[in-house]
């Protein structure tokens, strides 16, 4: 793959498949009103010197293709490219084809900042889809604020942030956590919890919110443990869990540690299908199950906003198009879907504002609705996060989740939750 060059959207992929997918989506979901470029003169829609011509508009894709985070970020890159393909197939944004410049963050935070700056300053991209870890987002944030760029950030994360220059397309912690804990206490009658996490900010913050909520419900947290990223030995903590006999193991383990944890849990005789204890996680998407092995995590519950197995029409078309573009073996996790929303949300904001200017997009963004999202209907909140439903999936042996619960209404994003800090 060669980066840092302009890509016309359809390069290197099966154009027909994409068009078919895009068309299927278009046809089945809504009838787009075709916007023609000549109705929107470049000088009018681009007053800040962004990379917009009469026929094209350039955006940036900024993820890790190399390094340890490449494992996770690949799916996001694929989703963003798919969305761009489909938008172009429908006629682009304000009649202009989207071109993208892809940069590699190399799993290294200063590199992210460096490349973000390059995208904004040298390439003058109209928006950036990118970042995965909180650390990379924190590193680029000052750059986006200084040069007034717009970042579409796909990962579920710890919250505690609300930047005018970021649209958070994944869930923040309270959206993901509170609904899940309510569900497990109401349907499963859980009374005691054991919190486990990898040792960094997202698991720690999430567990903090979880603990407050559990205690608010009058229930008990019987243990809380953190292991360094990349840790591979979990027998001691599994023993502690056996001693404390929690009803729920609430696990936020990430990366390679995940694989070790679930394999060792299974080997220690904790059969998750028996739900004694029940395992609830917010960090294992279908992507992670590939590495863990479906047979090792069968019976666990995951709480997030999207599962590949969702059966609504939007999602069926999305999964079909995704597989046509990237191959049949691929799985789609929560973050991948959230990344897919980025270009669509940006398109909607541009069209609502009638301009590519970042300030106008920012103004236009709150209130934007997307009825075509694979996860269903979403809406941008004033705090730049998405209103979205939260769902609970039950892991099956084949590596997919069966959706067993879904919140009745959209959950309001609350990045600075009162009483949870």
């Amino acid at each position: 793959m060669s980066n840092s060059e302009k890509h016309n959207g359809a390069n290197g992929v099966n154009r027909r498949a994409v068009l078919a997918g895009g068309a299927a989506l278009t046809a089945s979901l809504f009838t787009p009103k075709l916007l023609r470029a000549q109705d929107f003169p470049t000088a009018a829609v681009n007053t800040t010197g962004l990379a917009v011509t009469d026929d094209t508009v350039t955006v940036g894709i900024l993820h890790s293709v190399t390094g340890t985070m490449a494992i996770s970020e690949t799916g996001s890159v694929q989703a963003e490219k798919l969305a761009i393909e489909q938008i172009n197939a429908q006629g682009g944004v304000l009649g202009r084809k989207i071109e993208y410049i892809q940069e590699d963050g190399g799993s290294d935070w200063p590199t992210f900042a460096e490349k973000a700056k390059k995208l904004l300053v040298s390439d003058k991209v109209a928006s950036v889809m990118g970042c995965w870890t909180s650390a990379s987002r924190k590193a680029v944030l000052p750059v986006f604020e200084q040069y007034n760029g717009m970042l579409y950030y796909p990962t579920f994360y710890e919250g505690l942030e609300e930047s005018p220059n970021v649209i958070y397309t994944g869930q923040e912690a309270t959206q993901q956590i509170i609904a899940g804990i309510d569900w497990v206490t109401q349907t499963k009658g859980a009374k005691s919890f054991y919190l486990l996490g990898s040792d960094y900010i997202w698991p720690r913050t999430s567990n903090k919110i979880a603990r407050k909520h559990i205690e608010k419900l009058g229930l008990k947290v019987v243990g809380e443990d953190y292991y360094p990223l990349g840790h591979t030995q979990f027998n001691s903590v599994i023993n502690k869990m056996k001693l404390k006999k929690p009803d729920v193991i609430y696990a936020i383990v990430v990366g390679g540690s995940n694989v070790a944890f679930y394999k060792q849990l299974k080997a220690a005789g904790i059969d998750m299908t028996k739900e004694k204890p029940l395992l609830l996680t917010i960090s294992v998407t279908e992507d992670e199950i590939l590495g863990i092995g479906g047979e090792n995590i069968e019976g666990a519950y995951a709480c997030m906003k999207y599962f590949q197995s969702l059966t609504n029409e939007n999602n069926m078309a999305f999964v079909k198009a995704f597989k046509e573009m990237w191959g049949d073996d691929i799985v789609i996790g929560d973050v991948t879907q959230a990344a897919y929303l980025g270009p669509w949300l940006w398109k909607a904001a541009v069209e609502k504002a009638g301009s590519f200017d970042v300030d106008k997009i920012r103004e236009a963004s709150p209130g934007i609705e997307l009825t075509t999202a694979p996860e269903g209907y979403v809406k941008v909140h004033e705090n730049h996060h998405l209103w979205s439903k939260t769902r609970v999936g039950h892991a099956k042996r084949d590596g997919q989740y069966e959706v067993v619960f879904e919140t009745a209404d959209l959950v309001e994003p609350d990045p600075f939750p009162d009483g949870y800090q």
Partner: protein, 379 residues
């Protein structure tokens, strides 16, 4: 020739080398590059501090530390703590439950600034700490190891473990350190906005001046009797010991100097890049810093600067165009430097290029004095 060999600070060719580097750093790069690229080169130059320290420790003294990232990080963190406190005024942080403390502390339910953060309100204390903290730390490690005659491979592995420990600690104590995200969103230095283009340019020059100060210090050490003792220790440690020197003291000293250089680099890194995170403390960056030094030539302080510039520039360029090939290239570079060019760029220069230049110069006036030939080989 029965007179004593040259004892001047510079031989002629060394002086020329310093001048050329100064021209590159202070004239060519700033003129040729836009602010963005210049800032990148400024970042690369902060690694050169570490590489120069490694030339003293490893090339001259034979002490290979795989934990230089620790000192780079400590220096950088000290600076970042000061900048973060300045950025965390009660007005800026009014949305927090406890305004006036850094944001990550607030997220971690800290309600007051930890006592050991307090002194970092003072800029002069911070400047002191940038050097003192890493030096004290390296002194402790140095005393413990060199007094017990731990050297070579063992020293390398233990410093590596120290880097691992510090990384886990920083990440684990996120309420106090910012955890894996590091200390981010640094804005001003005594009210001066360090994010603007003009600030970046000024910082680049400050960085260059600091680097030359370190280079001159390193050159002075190399040319002093202490410098010759380091080489002597590397080759015949026992002989030095039985000539009445307390070998450990010299190793501790040079290790502390290396740590101080790395720390200055770290502080300049924080200023120019605008944040500090544990990813510069661990094993991988520490080993990469060794390769900067090896590529430049482990015996040449000027080579170390070129090594840091070249490897990092290549990293940026190649990872932009061929992200998949970059790791292969970096790996191959490690192997090539060790197997084919153990003296790095500086070695290639003295063996292959310098003789030709001299030949050329000899043909036409003014000829370089032949006496310098051997001295050139030493640098």
């Amino acid at each position: 020739m029965t007179t004593a060999p040259s004892n001047r600070l510079f031989t002629k060719s060394e002086a020329i080398g310093f001048v050329i580097l100064a021209v590159i750093v202070f004239a060519i790069l700033p003129l040729a590059l836009d602010t963005f690229r210049l800032n990148l080169f400024g970042k690369y130059l902060t690694y050169a501090f570490v590489a120069v320290g490694l030339v003293l420790c490893w090339g001259a003294g034979g002490i290979l530390s795989l934990g230089q990232g620790v000192f780079f990080g400590l220096g950088g963190y000290c600076m970042a703590m000061y900048l973060k406190l300045e950025a965390s005024t009660p007005e800026n942080t009014s949305i927090q439950s406890t305004p006036g403390i850094p944001d990550f502390m607030d997220w971690n339910q800290l309600t007051a600034l930890p006592w050991w953060w307090e002194p970092f309100h003072s800029f002069s204390f911070t400047l002191f700490a940038v050097i003192a903290v890493p030096v004290v730390f390296s002194f402790i490690i140095g005393v413990a190891m060199f007094r017990r005659r731990v050297g070579g491979v063992y020293f390398a592995i233990i410093t590596q473990a120290v880097a691992a420990i510090l990384t886990i600690l920083i990440i684990g104590q996120q309420g106090f350190t910012g955890g894996v995200n590091g200390i981010t969103d640094l804005r001003t230095l005594k009210g001066w906005d360090i994010r603007t283009d003009s600030a970046k340019e000024i910082l680049y020059f400050v960085n260059g001046i600091m680097l030359f100060a370190c280079l001159l210090t390193a050159q002075f050490i190399r040319k002093s009797k202490l410098g010759r003792l380091l080489i002597a220790m590397r080759d015949q440690e026992d002989r030095v010991r039985f000539s009445g020197y307390d070998v450990a003291n010299f190793k501790i000293f040079v290790f502390c100097i290396g740590a101080a250089f790395a720390a200055i680099g770290g502080a300049m890194f924080t200023l120019q890049v605008g944040f500090m995170s544990p990813s510069f403390v661990g094993i991988v960056p520490s080993i990469e810093m060794v390769i900067f030094c090896a590529v430049g030539g482990r015996l040449s302080i000027l080579g170390a600067v070129y090594g840091a510039l070249l490897v990092n520039w290549a990293k940026t360029t190649f990872s932009e165009s061929f992200p998949e090939l970059w790791l292969l290239g970096l790996g191959a570079l490690f192997i090539a430097v060790v197997m084919a060019f153990p003296d790095g760029l500086a070695g290639v220069y003295t063996d292959k290029i310098a003789p030709r230049i001299r030949k050329l110069l000899k043909r036409g006036p003014p000829a370089l004095p032949a006496a310098n030939a051997q001295e050139t080989a030493a640098e």
